[in-house]
């Protein structure tokens, strides 16, 4: 593409994908109906680039599809056995670091982590389990926080800060110590101005931020990713 051109194409697993200048690889791919596995990226928010699940190979180099800008003529590998193996390992690490007991999780069937693990054929967490001790916060009248399932994607942090203008959530600590906290001196959700109608109340891709009293309204087995794999659902969302 010439310097002033606003569009171009790149190859994604040997298929030509058009893009407009400034689009990231994942944005262009999704607009073209191609699924790149991802967890911390959400189309409505600024890319955070932390989970690395969207790792692709662009011109032979590993990069995050949610932060890498598309470039004309670039050759991108996405669903190769090598990359899907790496992605599966990242998922396994997330599963053992938290407490993910899907059969008793209200998010089961609607959970992006679980659905991505299905898509990648993750049959086992493989590593030794951490079984961390993370008490739930049920203090809020309408909402429940089950920290056991947090994958630290920061979507709630962004949504609360940038959409709701409230700053209810933050990440604290580093490395394996990092965890989600509630911005109140008591650290309890009830002592914030958080509300069930906040954008942050419905953004969590996993089963941490849950509305009370609506549990199991839709039975297990009849939920979003029971009906269709995330590779299809994610693309369908783009086109509605």
């Amino acid at each position: 593409m010439s310097d002033d051109s606003q569009t171009g194409t790149f190859l994604l697993d040997d298929e030509e994908i058009p893009f407009t200048r400034g689009q990231t690889v994942i944005q262009a791919a999704r607009a073209a109906g191609k699924y790149i596995p991802h967890l911390c990226w959400h189309p409505d928010f600024k890319a955070h680039g932390s989970c690395k699940l969207c790792t692709i190979k662009a011109n032979g180099r590993l990069g995050a599809a949610c932060t890498l800008e598309a470039q004309d003529g670039m050759a991108v590998e996405n669903r190769t056995p090598e990359l899907d193996d790496k992605r599966r390992t990242l998922l396994q690490l997330l599963f053992v670091e938290g407490n993910h007991f899907c059969p008793s999780c209200e998010k089961s069937g609607n959970c992006v982590l679980q659905a991505t693990a299905y898509d990648l054929g993750m049959m086992t967490p493989h590593f030794d389990m951490f079984y961390p001790d993370r008490p739930v916060d049920a203090s809020h009248p309408d909402m429940l926080l089950d920290f056991n399932r947090c994958i630290l994607c920061e979507l709630c942090v962004q949504a609360s800060r940038d959409v709701d203008g409230k700053n209810v959530f933050a990440l604290s600590g580093r490395g394996i110590q990092s965890h989600l906290i509630v911005n109140a001196e008591s650290r309890r959700l009830a002592d914030t101005d958080f509300s069930a109608t906040d954008r942050a109340a419905s953004i969590c891709p996993v089963g941490v931020i849950l509305k009370k009293r609506v549990g199991f309204a839709i039975p297990i087995g009849e939920r979003t990713y029971d009906a269709a794999p995330i590779s299809q659902v994610d693309i369908a969302k783009e086109n509605t």
């Binding site: 407490n99 993910h100 008793s104 693990a117 029971d226």
Partner: protein, 179 residues
């Protein structure tokens, strides 16, 4: 072709996975054309002979579970973690962040409504509880994993028929469930 020999057991599980195995219904008649059951709650055979496939339901929560699991590993060419509890500890592992003694005290001693003089059971025949519940891959090498709570009869059927036919078991989206 000689029948494959299959052993099954339930460790720290609820027998749901075994019930789900029975949910293959009339296909069970096809299954027993292909396999014979060795040690299993279905046969009441108490110890494993050398087997081709071992199906393990449940994680390990006590010392006996560990012994049984090791017996299976020793005797089975292919060992399968059947269901959520075998795969990641499942519901029993939700006690893992609690202190074992505190749980026993509360359940058998201090909970309201217990008979007078209730004590923590200490019969020497009872296997000792482990401090934590573990998935079976933390104890022995596991060859295949079939998640689900329980995996559906259809998932078990697909898995077993693939395995028996010498194919790598593949569930596909419909049958792949962690719940």
């Amino acid at each position: 072709m000689a029948k494959l020999r299959v052993a099954t057991t339930s460790l720290a599980g609820c027998f749901g996975c075994h019930m789900s195995l029975l949910d293959i219904d009339e296909r069970f008649l096809q299954l027993i054309e292909l396999v014979e059951f060795n040690r299993s709650p279905l046969t009441d055979i108490k110890h494993c002979d050398p087997c081709d496939i071992g199906l393990i339901e449940g994680g390990v929560c006590n010392a006996e579970n560990v012994h049984v699991l090791r017996e299976f590993r020793k005797n089975c060419k292919v060992l399968v973690a059947l269901g959520a509890c075998a795969v990641n500890g499942g519901l029993p592992a939700q006690r893992n962040h609690l202190d074992l003694h505190t749980i026993l005290e509360e359940v058998y001693h201090t909970a309201p409504g217990l008979a007078a003089g209730s004590q923590i059971p200490d019969d020497p025949e009872l296997p000792l509880l482990l401090n934590k519940v573990h998935p079976i891959h933390e104890v022995v090498k596991i060859d295949y994993f079939l998640p689900g709570c329980p995996p559906s009869g259809d998932a078990i059927w697909k898995f077993l028929t693939d395995l028996i036919a010498g194919r790598t078991p593949h569930l596909g989206h419909q049958l792949m469930h962690y719940d």
